[in-house]
Amino acid sequence: MAKKSIKIRAKLKGGVTTVKCLMNHPMETGLRKDKKTGEPIPAHFIQDVVAKHNDAEVMTAQWSGSVSKNPYVAFKFNGGAKGDAVSVAWTDNMGKSEMGSAKIK
């Protein structure tokens, strides 16, 4: 089973789609120190999150190190229909990025 970096669930109810999303990321603030060496652990956190519904941007977020490890985010947007694609993508301060998508149920 391949490890999915972003888990997404999208549900439509009463004309509003609720999207819940769990991302795997260490979210290091850069302030923690390695217990053995005493060296600071470099900052490594998600900076930008973009959520799309059928290629239209429905939510963007700018995060910092204050968001904890393995962030969970939930948001709603008006509209959406069963079977539509919802995607969530993040980019972190080291330039890495991941994308996950799901169909609205």
Partner: protein, 281 residues
């Protein structure tokens, strides 16, 4: 006041039977103990079905249950279960895998803890995991968190639904059981509390900001992703942590005292289902 009376009666019934050295006629049997334990909580929390106690405090408090159910939609322990599966499938340096010690079946929860008569000791699953490792030339893992907890998360996940059925086959096993019972009921530390002080007498009441969970069902859901830890931890980690919070000297993880305690406590949750790994505040 009513709770206090029920609690004291039940605890007295228990403690009266927990004398180890002298086998009095008043000593209660493990089956009687299970019944006393269950009856106490069924009376204390009417309407909560027995199986629900496996969910700890979420069986008795609606608000925290709602939060927990929302969290379980994306369980925080899920990535660890996946990592645990990788661990299970990764061979040791000698080519063998964990499967070679466990009949190729990770769903081992129902077999532990058990009384090993040849060694005259209680064997727990983490202990068996490390014995598997050392038998195959690997280093033993630490017992409270990390890789051990990760592997246990996978094994527990596979074991979900298995029923607790702890057997106490002979007098030596009964002795270990009674020793565990004594650990549970011995007052200790600065507060002079025992396990029953919070988890029987005060179950459902608050200790600062936390609601004390009932003792029934305490051993079903391990390892646990505790939000406070931000990671997985094992049952013995929590035993030690709780004792330290009570300002008492804790016993060693997977030492004889905690293994006996696990033996006693798991027997108290007889017939409940294993539902690990689980998430808690």
């Amino acid at each position: 006041m009513k709770f206090k009376r029920i609690a004291i009666t039940a605890i007295c019934a228990f403690v009266a039977g927990s004398a180890i050295a002298d086998k009095k006629a008043t000593e209660t049997t493990p089956d009687q103990d299970v019944q006393t334990y269950r009856d106490y909580f069924m009376k204390r929390f009417p309407g909560v079905p027995l199986e629900e106690y496996a969910n700890g405090v979420y069986a008795i408090d609606k608000v925290s249950r709602d939060n927990w159910e929302a969290l379980e939609e994306f369980p925080p322990y899920e990535p660890m279960v996946e990592d645990g599966e990788t661990m299970w499938n990764t061979p040791f340096a000698n080519g063998k895998t964990y499967g070679s010690c466990f009949n190729d079946d990770p769903a081992q929860r129902k077999n532990y803890p058990h009384w090993d008569d040849s060694r005259k000791t209680v064997v727990t699953l983490p202990m068996a995991v490390n014995e598997c490792r050392t038998a195959n030339g690997e280093n033993p893992l630490k017992y409270k968190k990390g890789a051990m907890a990760t592997l246990l998360a996978y094994m527990s996940y596979e074991s979900r639904g298995q029923k607790i059925d702890v057997d106490i086959p002979n007098a030596d096993a009964l002795d270990a059981y009674n020793k565990g019972k004594q650990v549970y009921f011995a007052r200790r530390g600065q507060f002079n509390f025992n396990c029953a002080s919070c988890h029987m007498q005060s179950a459902g009441q608050k200790a600062r900001a936390d609601i004390l969970s009932p003792g029934l069902g305490h051993t079903t859901g391990w390892p646990v992703y505790r939000s406070k830890w931000g990671e997985l931890g094992t049952l013995h980690r929590r035993f030690g942590g709780c004792m330290k919070q009570m300002r008492a000297k804790d016993y060693k993880a997977q030492g004889e005292e905690f293994r006996n305690l696990e033996y006693f406590m798991t027997h108290m949750s007889q017939d409940l289902e294993f539902n690990g790994p689980s998430a808690r505040k």
